[in-house]
Symmetry: C2
Subunit: 336 residues, 2 copies
DNA sequence: CCCATCCTCCAAAACGTTTTGGGAGTCAAT
DNA sequence: ATTGACTCCCAAAACGTTTTGGAGGATGGG
């Protein structure tokens, strides 16, 4: 209800003084400042966001692109990340707005809509692809952004990512050290960077060990995709004795395939993401997770620093992957 | 880059005419309109959102409160709902913004921050409580809103909800008809309306059948909560032979408890939410789901109608619950 | 007593859009 | 020639804030 004009009038002060008092400028006396603050509090005054945004030429918003294709946005705990990110952005006066990407519309177009209408100060990109047109566009427009996951862009840009290559290589080598020789990989869609790099980690380990890399099947990054991919690998003349899965959801789908084929007790399996659900599957799912606390806060921090103009090179975080030891990776190395 | 003034200048027209041409008013000639449109297209012109919002006195934003407490926001597919809702709001020129609720801050305060700063035109409330202070506040301020889940508010307000009472009553009666007599309930936190009403559905069925309602344990609406609650019920001198769980996540936690205690083959179980994961658990999880297509679109539609001023009574959707028949509810009615 | 300095405060401009309330010109009917 | 209706266009106001560039008065040093 209350705007600055009314508040100023009721106090017998000018709009300027009230505004500056509330913003804590030193050119208004302590007494006046206090008086203004009390009146503002009493009136429940909050500055009109649109007006401030217009005047300050800042949208006070950060957009995150969300594909409406169910399941293609990220693991379930992605929502916690978003919420954490929004919380830390809010502490800096920024709000997180969802930029939905309807089926049939390119993510690029959505980016343009938000950027060209000056609706956002920065963007958060998730599920990056190896060649990501959003990255190129934002770079060309000079809009600050941070990606969740790297890209193959030649120009460096801010990102947070897990070292999927190292993580999947290590997991594969761990199986090899346990005596496994036929180690399969259940891969996600290869246009996504995360899926590609995880596959390459597995591949590198296999080649280092002098093993063939034919035991690889690709699927959608969901339970069903993992299930179908696992069935495909289990149909091979010589079955894998261990499976390295691109995501926990795929691994959980694969677990069902294993149960259907051999009762689930013969083949080792490991996923990635550390879903809480993984502790409750049968068997409990060994997995990997990106190290680092409070991912959302880190994204928020990088976004703020990007907006502040820090160079991209200083805003790249590659986190180590740690192994989460449950039970599903402990099957004997030789299948029945 | 381009604003209306520049565009108008380059066309030799007034700002007014350009603005009205782009908005399709009839008092600008078809020829001019076309000329303006082409120039706007070529210049990549998009109206400045903040300026329009200020002038039109509409924020063009809808906020959804998201607790940052992980897991307390809703089931995993909640994100799909949000995305769908955002998509349909966007088609009407509204964007969905996240109103994060940090630990230690009341949801009410967050609502006030958004409403009083005129940052939003409407709000979407999720995880409603039986007594929900947000509802009272928004009603008192006359801000349009829709809740995901009912409340016990005396004044009617727009909502979308599943008929949890009927659903859980029916599920319990189904177990009874199958011969079960010791039917337990794993309940969610009772301050949430959804958890309370589901429990009451189970309770009503038990009483109708003349059965005791002592086999009830409460936990957090997550796997761990369901796991602990199930262990509690399994410690009873006379175990339940069937479990009706408030959510699929709790049911999946309970499944693990069952496996630990009796191998998982003796006790029937049913959840609610129809998580995709449920098709891949061992055994596959029978569950319930709210009927209705595209929940997000429905929320968007209700929000738009609430903003348009339709009365709350016309904006209440109570959806039937349907049973999803997998396998976990088919255990014999008598425990070992 | 004068000048400089500081402390408070304020009028006005600006942000970019939409909307109000006409104004000029054309055309047809009077 | 005048009137009225109609078409096409525009100047100016308004939305509510922040910021610029002082103004006016008090204070203190010379």
């Amino acid at each position: 209800m209350a705007n600055l004009k009314q508040l100023a009038h009721s106090l017998g002060l000018s709009i300027t003084t009230v505004s500056r008092a509330l913003d804590g400028y030193s050119d208004v006396s302590a007494a006046t400042r206090e008086r203004v603050r009390e009146a503002a509090e009493a009136a429940g005054y909050r500055p009109n966001a649109s007006a401030r945004r217009l005047r300050k030429q800042r949208a006070e918003l950060v957009a995150v692109t969300l594909p409406s294709d169910p399941g293609h946005v990220g693991p379930p705990h992605f929502l916690d990340m978003l919420s954490g990110c929004a919380e830390h952005l809010a502490a800096a006066g920024l709000n997180l707005v969802i930029a939905p990407v309807p089926r049939g519309v390119s993510e690029l177009e959505i980016c343009q809509r938000f950027v060209d209408g000056r609706r956002v100060d920065a963007m958060l990109l998730v599920r990056t692809k190896r060649q990501d047109e959003r990255v190129e566009y934002l770079q060309s427009r000079g809009i600050p952004f941070v990606t969740n996951g790297r890209t193959e862009s030649l120009i460096p840009h801010p990102f947070i990512d897990g070292d999927g290559f190292a993580g999947f290589r290590a997991a594969t080598l761990r199986f090899h050290a346990a005596g496994h020789r036929r180690i399969g990989h259940i891969a996600g869609p290869q246009e996504y960077y995360f899926a590609h790099v995880r596959r390459r980690g597995w591949q590198a380990a296999m080649e280092e060990c002098g093993l063939a890399t034919d035991l690889c099947a690709e699927g959608a990054p969901l339970e069903q995709g993992g299930y179908l991919a696992a069935l495909e690998l289990l149909r091979q003349p010589s079955r894998p004795t261990a499976l390295v899965c691109a995501t926990d959801e795929m691994a959980i789908g694969a677990l069902r395939a294993l149960r259907e084929v051999d009762g689930g007790s013969q083949i080792s399996i490991v996923g990635h993401d550390d879903l809480s659900m993984g502790a409750f599957t049968s068997p409990p799912l060994s997995t990997m997770r990106m190290t680092g606390e409070n991912l959302g806060a880190t994204f928020a921090s990088l976004l703020l620093r990007a907006i502040a103009g820090e160079p991209a090179e200083d805003l790249q975080e590659l986190h180590a992957i740690e192994f989460v030891d449950r039970d599903s990776h402990r099957r004997p190395p030789v299948a029945a």
